[in-house]
């Protein structure tokens, strides 16, 4: 199959072409409350072809590998149509030719674990949650994704590689009177089954928070200084800055491209931000991206100065910047887009206590709850928080969403802790001009940080 696909892309009258063929297997086990709602296996296969010709680009996805040849031909015709209409031609940066396989050998391979063991494990954690009298329902999921991919391109690369991601995650729902609260839990999130075992205490800690939230106060609306815990600050740097460092989002946005020239100062010298696919055992770790480029470490902010960017081969050529190996697609129906691998704020030298002591009236916000970004505007939630009054932690608060603007917020990041932690479960949604791709393999890490002013939406 590899040589057939390689012949297809190399015979096209194209500037560049590649083809990715995938065989994917997913296992999903889901509990909602006492009910086992799903034990499901998904088997999918199919291909995706990309063609650059006459300076234009076209892409196609297909289910039937027997149609790969005619579909590649038709895609090439479309690329020529696009190219002939463009004054500014698209091209791809040169990249090393790779003829190597990248197969994964986890400590304990989830593919070798029986369905029964996975089911029992999911039921075990779900039962622990249901034992608490304040819990009215749960969502407990076992989620396993394995993918075997072939990548060939017209440069001569022929690569076979694997992706594995396995985790247990869910939601604890508690109720007291009319107040209903939800707290998330997640563990695993990389290639290894072992970290899913023995996590009872982690689950119980989250249950305690979900119960405590029932007596918490809603957050007040206004502008406040905040301390973010590592999971919150990981989401902050991912949403607020990371997405604006993905070059495909800047490629056609002249005003942000002008604002984000390499070398500009974005934050204080204490701020260092990196994207790193080579860190072992994290959700966004990988050897090779879906464009046949090796994953690597890319410094993005160095001592407060914009020092790098995440690229595709196309954007690297257009920006005249180095390749970064950040092109990834979640499945065959999706084209690769520029994605963060593992983004992190590097450790500083402040302590958590220093940060709290420095605030007279603000919040300590804990637990990532997702976020959204558009250009330089960002919003993200916290699972719970605490008032900070006169340098001391105060009452617990709930229902917290905050927003801000990237450039002023990076400048307002005034203290960075020495306690870097990565979230176990990755996740990121991005469309990139196409359908939304929910990517499990996107890690976020950070120490505690202090931001001098963010807008909090509350009562």
């Amino acid at each position: 199959m590899k040589s057939t696909f390689a012949n297809i892309v190399s015979s096209l009258p194209a500037d560049y072409a590649d083809l990715r063929f995938e065989e994917n297997r997913k296992i999903r086990i889901g509990y909602e409350g006492k009910e086992l709602t799903e034990v499901a296996t998904t088997l999918t296969s199919g291909g995706h072809v990309r063609v650059y010709a006459h300076g234009g680009k076209a892409i196609s996805s297909f289910s039937d590998p027997g149609k790969a040849g005619p579909i590649a031909d038709a895609t090439c015709t479309s690329a020529i149509l696009v190219g002939n209409s463009r004054d500014k031609k698209l091209r791809v940066a040169s990249a090393p030719v790779i003829t190597e396989d990248f197969l994964i050998t986890p400590v304990r391979d989830p593919r070798t674990v029986s369905l029964k063991e996975k089911l029992d494990l999911t039921a075990h954690y779900n039962d622990i949650i249901l034992q608490n009298p304040h819990v009215i329902t749960t969502q407990t999921m076992y989620d396993e994704f394995t993918s075997r991919r072939i990548f060939v391109n017209s440069d001569g690369s022929i690569i076979e590689y694997e992706l594995i991601n396995v985790g247990v995650f869910g939601m604890i729902v508690t109720k007291k009177g009319s107040v209903v609260q939800r707290v998330r839990f997640a563990f695993g999130g990389n290639t290894d089954f072992s970290p899913l075992l023995g996590r009872e205490e982690d689950v119980r800690k989250q249950i305690t928070k979900a119960v405590e939230l029932l007596d918490a106060e809603p957050a007040k609306a206004g502008i406040f200084p905040v301390v973010l815990d590592p999971s919150e600050s990981g989401v902050f740097i991912h949403e607020a800055f990371g997405h604006l460092s993905e070059a495909d989002g800047l490629q056609n946005n002249p005003s942000f491209r002008a604002k984000l020239q390499l070398g500009i100062t974005l934050g204080k010298p204490i701020l260092n931000v990196t994207d790193d696919a080579t860190l072992p055992g994290l959700p966004g770790s990988y050897e090779i991206d879906d464009e046949g480029v090796r994953g690597m470490r890319t410094p993005l902010i160095t001592r407060g100065v914009l020092s790098g960017r995440m690229h595709s081969r196309e954007t690297a050529a257009e920006f005249g910047e180095p390749l970064s190996g950040n092109m990834r697609a979640v499945d065959v129906q999706c084209t690769p887009i520029v994605r963060m691998s593992n983004i992190l704020i590097e450790a500083g030298d402040s302590t958590f206590d220093d940060m709290v002591r420095s605030i007279d009236n603000g919040y300590y916000l804990v637990g990532a709850k997702g976020g959204q970004t558009s250009g330089d505007q960002f919003t993200f939630g916290a699972q719970w928080g605490y008032r900070i009054v006169n340098g001391q932690l105060g009452n617990m608060v709930r229902d917290i969403n905050m927003s801000g603007e990237l450039f002023s917020t990076l400048q307002a990041t005034s203290m960075i802790g020495d306690d870097v932690r990565f979230g176990e479960r990755g996740g990121c949604g991005k469309g990139g001009g196409g359908p939304m791709q929910m990517n499990r393999k996107s890690g976020k890490g950070s120490p505690h940080i202090k931001i001098d002013a963010v807008t909090i939406g509350g009562i």
Partner: protein, 437 residues
């Protein structure tokens, strides 16, 4: 009956097959330049089986993919007992959701649609980073069960969008249209885009406090998604819905009547049957503010001893499609229009907000009716827009704040955001909490 079902019938007690084949073309412009053509030809199938009273599921590319039936049967070995059967034979409402003209569209036709938008807007807004897209799709969905359901639908959809961020800003204005038949951008839509874009040349931040807020159709999801979470039969069953035990009570303003209308003519999301092969029907969910009905699929309906309302869909907040589990969802939610022009609603506001989007909605406690989002839209002072909103959040709870609705426009637009496609008017809420200056 499909051979897979014939085969399954010999192995399991019941089986249900969902099979969708689609062909789509998308063209995309960035900065007034044709950027990319995408053409997809995809087949996907799911299979649910009941064996010895337990249910199992499997998903695949083709129904005849190796291992498809075996995986579903294995799932059923471990699955929970089910108290319902797959859908039986039914008469489905007639729904015309196929256009041969759309089925015949080629990428060159979509390029023509984009070029017409480009030509008009490039004259008026030459310096903006305008993105334009047009797409068409034809698909054939088949749902068959061993119990006799045989639902098939041949449908088409065509759409376009265009939009641009405000200069130097992270947010902007976007407009779109979609329908069964080929779509062309009319002059009124293009003019409205230019007006809105120019409104955003200045930014403006309101003061912190309570202010009147207009939800444009594009922002109707801020009210409708919490409502969907509340009227989901599943939330009622699990007692997580704030609407549990509130059937027949006033939950929203009497100016609001909300239908679930899967048979909405011309709508690309319209359906004669749900993803379990149960017939769909138009239903009043909220009538003059009174809660009338919850939505059920077969699983939740059985748990609540009530029939499915035909709302078992493979949808979630972040996506839809073959691999998504079935749960009760809106198909085409519609808010009934009022009798005021939305322009007149704006003119009547001393200080307030026109909201066109809300960022970060999914991070909030929306299943309880709450939202706290970064406000995207415009600041109104003395009946006129003074600029785009900047550094502003709005928050509230629909079951408190939407009890007081001052006006509902006669103009309607397509819902967007997290919702399936429905229609909504402009809704003026008396006041919401605003975090600004």
């Amino acid at each position: 009956m499909h051979p897979l079902l014939e085969n399954a019938k010999r192995t399991v007690d019941q089986a249900e097959m969902y099979w969708n084949q689609s062909h789509s073309i998308v063209v995309r412009y960035e900065n007034y330049r044709l950027q990319q053509v995408t053409e997809n030809d995809v087949s996907e199938a799911s299979l649910r089986v009941i064996q010895n009273g337990k249910i199992g599921s499997a998903y695949a590319v083709f129904p005849n993919q190796e291992g498809f039936l075996d995986n579903a049967v294995t799932g059923a070995q471990y699955g929970d007992p089910v108290s319902y059967s797959f859908a039986g034979k039914a008469d489905y409402p007639k729904l015309d959701n196929y256009s041969e003209a759309t089925a015949q569209l080629k990428s060159s036709d979509l390029i023509e649609v984009c070029e017409s938008i480009k030509t008009k807007l490039q004259k008026q807004l030459p310096d903006v980073a305008l993105g334009i897209g047009a797409s068409c799709e034809r698909s054939e969905l088949t749902i068959q069960t061993t119990q006799g359901a045989n639902a098939t639908s041949k449908s088409t959809g065509a759409s376009f969008y265009f939009g641009a961020p405000f200069k130097g800003a992270g947010v902007g204005v976007f407009k779109s249209r979609s329908g069964i038949a080929p779509q062309v951008a009319d002059g009124a839509l293009l003019d409205e885009f230019v007006t809105w874009y120019n409104w955003g040349n200045q930014s403006s931040t309101p003061s912190t406090g309570r202010l009147p807020v207009i939800l444009a159709p594009e922002a109707a999801f801020l009210m409708m998604m919490p409502l969907l979470a509340g009227v989901s039969g599943e939330a009622a069953w699990k007692k997580t819905s704030p609407l549990t035990q509130r059937l027949g009570e006033k939950i929203l303003s009497d100016k609001l009547t909300i239908y679930e209308n899967p048979l909405l003519a011309g709508n690309t999301d319209a359906r004669a049957f749900d993803d379990e092969g149960v017939p769909c029907a138009k239903r009043a969910i909220v009538e003059r503010g009174i809660l009338k009905e919850f939505l059920f699929d077969q699983r939740v309906g059985a748990a609540m001893s009530t029939p499915s309302t035909g709302n078992g869909f493979k949808r979630t907040m972040f996506g839809s499609g073959n691999e998504t589990s079935i749960s009760p969802w809106f198909c085409c939610p519609t808010i009934e229009p009022g009798d005021t022009s939305w322009h007149d609603i704006v003119k009547g506001i001393k200080e307030g907000l026109l909201i066109t989007n809300g960022m970060g909605f999914h991070s909030g406690n929306f299943p309880q009716g709450q939202f706290a989002v970064q406000a995207v839209g415009f600041h109104i002072i003395n009946g006129a827009v003074v600029g785009r909103l900047d550094k502003t959040m709005i928050s509230g709870n629909i079951y408190q704040d939407c009890l007081d609705v001052a006006a509902v426009s006669r103009d309607v637009g397509l819902c967007s955001g997290f919702l399936p496609l429905g229609t909504a008017p402009y809704v003026l809420i008396d006041s919401l909490q605003v975090a600004g200056k």
